[in-house]
Amino acid sequence: MEEIRIGVYICWCGTNIAKMVDVEDVARELSEMPDVVIAKDYKYMCSDPGQDLIIKDIKKHNLNRIVVSACSPRIHELTFRRTLENAGLNPYMFQMANIREQVSWVHDDRIKATKKAKALVAAAINRIKWHESLDKRTVSINPSTLVIGGGIAGITAALELADTGSQVFLVEKERKLGGNMAKIDLTFPYLNSAQQIINEKIDRIEHHPNIRIFRNTVIDEIFGYIGNFNSTIGQNGTEAELKFGNIIVATGLKSFDPSGIKNYGYGKLPDVITSLEFEQMLLNGKILTKEGKEPANVAIIHCVGSRNSDEHEYCSRTCCMSALKYANQLRSAIPEVNIYQAYADMRAFGKGCEELYCSTSRKDVMFLMFDQQKDLPVIMEAKADDSCKMVIEMNEKLSGERIEIPADLVILMVGLEAQDDAKELARSVGISMCGNSFFMEKHPKLDPVATTTSGVYVVGNCQAPKEIPDAISQAKAATARIMATIKQGEVEVEVITAEVNEDICCGCKTCIQVCPYTAITFDENNSVSVVNEAICKGCGTCGSACPTGAIRSRHFTDNQILSQIKGLMSKSLELNEL
């Protein structure tokens, strides 16, 4: 093994450190530690001359490990790693001791601060003896992408990617492309045609040279990792072996089935229909009751299957606005119709939505509020002599009165819920699910489309209910990442990863479930665990959980940390005795 030659640099940071820490004393004392070749102090280590000093010393003294004691590594670790690279050393042969944020700025006793600085630097020196060269690692990226789901999100993603010249495989469970958007007439809030938008896109996708469509196809199992996935896809009896670098999951959601809600009598009362069925009426241009008459009274009931602990606790996000849209469409198609909207909270939050709410309310629409959790309206058949077919009874919250509404047609604004096969899909693609069987994103705030599995993205409704523009934004967001990786042809993966020593691993499989990224798999042939370093993010949890000590967390190995502790304590105690 090569001789360890350590260079130690103590930064003054102007007076920031020097005022509270006797930096010269620190340098002098630590120069006496074993393996330390030189120890220097300097005004600003991060400045160009400071960095040059390190480079020169590395060459002159043949140093192979560098300790810089300055500010927080969160600020300058990258700076100095680059310095080392410039000097021809591996950037990981570097350790920083934070004596500014965690010493000089937070203490006011110079003697104690100096003592602590010495201990921290000693710890770093002790630690760096165990450092090893780590190399940047990349995996190559197959430029093809698999898009699962042919709704608006999937179609958008496929087109965006295909337009850059990359191959896209689009897999759709059903025969028809377009998903839920193809089943609706107009979009809110501007009442534009959904059909025109989606049909144009479907037309493009069907004729796109870079897109291969698999209809009536379900993904069975996917193998591999980012950049290098593969799967066998069966279609019409033939099987195709596909290789792709990234996966976009855009399987969407399905409408809630309201048959289970007794109050509404869906399935029993012929003129109680779901919003999706009403969309079909609008597409056909025929808003008629089962008897074939035009309704004189139409009631729209919100929050069916949503915001209720018996069905789904979550809000389906789109129904309120769809209901307002229906009011406008009804008013246009049947000018004299009485329109009633039973709602819980009017969630008109998007662009132009509150304005639509306001303009709709001017169109003789009667809004009625009910308690969607405990007190649902009851739909019943009207008496024979009544002017209407059905009567809806409810406790109206805004007036505090018990009222009844005449209705000839009742539209249930059904919520959205996970597809039946969501769980199987999650398993085959390797992503997690949240409480409501929605797919889980990597970070709910700052990474809403990536997943914990690198190279797999969730977009559109399958991540959570959302409006069309948001689904499209998400679809495009995922393609941004994929384009960046395709463009580079390879993707850098975490350097600080875990590795399994196969000579020691006994195959107890403790580590496999511990990994939050499912980066560890079991090699049945050798009966050892294997870390897929393309997936590993280097948290080190597995290393701590491994009972045999077979897993090392690179750059945070047991030895590195133990010697850091040892160095710190020995210096600290030694100084205490003085």
Partner: protein, 384 residues
């Protein structure tokens, strides 16, 4: 009790109003900003709700519209521009037409032609009466160059006319108030002990005279209150003068200017003029929320009162300056405007509020006192 919603009531109400209020999304701002809001008596939003849903029974039993003096604060701050103040105004018209058993009120509110016809018809009758039974305008009426008003319009006839008009109007008003009492108290089944009727009775004249509630309106309200109060007192004093004290009022002799009759008369005139000009400028400029929307009945009322006032002033000026012919013609014109104004506006239109409002306050306090009493006896029974 389950009430069925009735979208048609709204359409009906719209005929009496000037603006749709369906934008309201029930935030309750109006109720909260209104300084007069009181449980059971004034809750603008609840009235809104009854109107929107078309809950006729509840609406007719509701006295909230009368409790509102229309300071306009609710409409100013309404986040949806739904104009609660204007709805209250429209509802006052609605309730007036509901209380009025003759149906004339409704007819006049909804049919401009009929309203004009009624006014013009009455005016014509007045002029005809003078033309037929009035003395010939010959020099006997101007002997010594003076104005002989009592000879022109003999006081006994005029007094007879005055009193009969007062009786008719009062009869109509009282019957309408009884109707109101039925709709507000009897029909909803409010139980009120007889003693309460007596103990709360003082509120009736007190509120009529002071309009103290109006003062509670916002800062701007105090200003309106001043104008409104002056107009109201001016009108009332004048009304009493010409009906009760006609013999002291319509005299040949011209009193000294400090005589009580003249002083009261001047005050009334000033009060009316001040209030009217304030309102007319407001309605023309639409400078404030309450003046933004004017129903025909609003304009008619103001214009007729203004014309009455102006003709009265002219009459007075002509008389003290000894201009007999001018005085006599103006007198006819004055009466020809005054009679239709009182006969149409007081029982059937906007002016009915001078009676409904104090009664509404009285009924509200009855309800409140009754429920308090009930609560107390209930409590006592419980304790016992």
């Amino acid at each position: 009790m389950i009430q069925r919603v009735n979208p048609n009531l709204k359409k009906d109400l719209l005929k009496l109003g000037v603006k749709d209020w369906n934008e309201c999304f029930h935030c309750g701002n109006c109720t909260a900003i209104c300084q007069l809001t009181e449980e059971d008596s004034l809750n603008p939003r609840k009235v809104f709700r009854q109107a929107q849903l078309g809950l006729k029974t509840s609406l007719q039993a509701n006295i909230s519209p009368w409790m509102c003096y229309y300071c306009g604060e609710c409409s100013d701050t309404c986040p949806r521009d739904a104009n609660p103040g204007e709805l209250m105004m429209s509802l006052r018209r609605y309730l007036t037409s509901i209380y009025d058993w003759t149906g004339l009120s409704r007819l006049f509110y909804t049919n401009k032609f009929m309203e004009f016809a009624a006014i013009l018809g009455l005016a014509t009758i007045v002029i005809l009466l003078f033309a037929i039974w009035g003395p010939p305008l010959d020099p006997t009426l101007t002997s010594e160059g003076g104005v002989k008003i009592n000879s022109f319009a003999p006081i006994k006839w005029i007094e007879l006319g005055d009193w009969s008009m007062a009786v008719v109007v009062a009869a109509l008003l009282i019957s309408n108030i009884l109707n109101m009492f039925y709709k507000v108290i009897i029909k909803p089944g409010v139980k009120i002990p007889l003693s309460v009727y007596a103990t709360e009775l003082w509120k009736l004249p007190a509120h009529f005279a002071t309009q103290a509630k109006f003062r509670k309106c916002d800062t701007k309200g105090k200003y309106y209150w001043g104008a409104h109060w002056m107009m109201m007192t001016g009108y009332t004093i004048m009304f009493i003068l010409i009906v009760v004290f006609l013999p002291e009022f319509q005299v040949e002799e011209i009193y000294d200017w400090w005589h009580w009759q003249r002083l009261l008369g001047y005050y009334s005139t000033f009060g009316l003029l001040f209030g009217l000009i304030y309102v007319i400028i407001g309605r023309i400029k639409q400078n404030n929320q309450i003046f933004k929307f004017s129903h025909l009945s609003d304009w008619l009322f103001v214009i007729m009162l203004f014309m009455t006032t102006v003709s009265g002033i002219m009459l007075h000026l002509f008389r003290i300056n000894g201009m007999p012919y001018a005085t006599y013609y103006t007198y006819i014109a004055h009466i020809a405007i005054l009679i239709p104004m009182i006969c149409i506006e007081v029982p059937f239109s906007k002016w009915s509020h001078l009676a409904y409002r104090p009664f509404a306050i009285y009924f509200a306090s009855l309800k409140k006192a009754a429920s308090e009493k009930q609560y107390k006896t209930g409590l006592a029974a419980e304790i016992a």
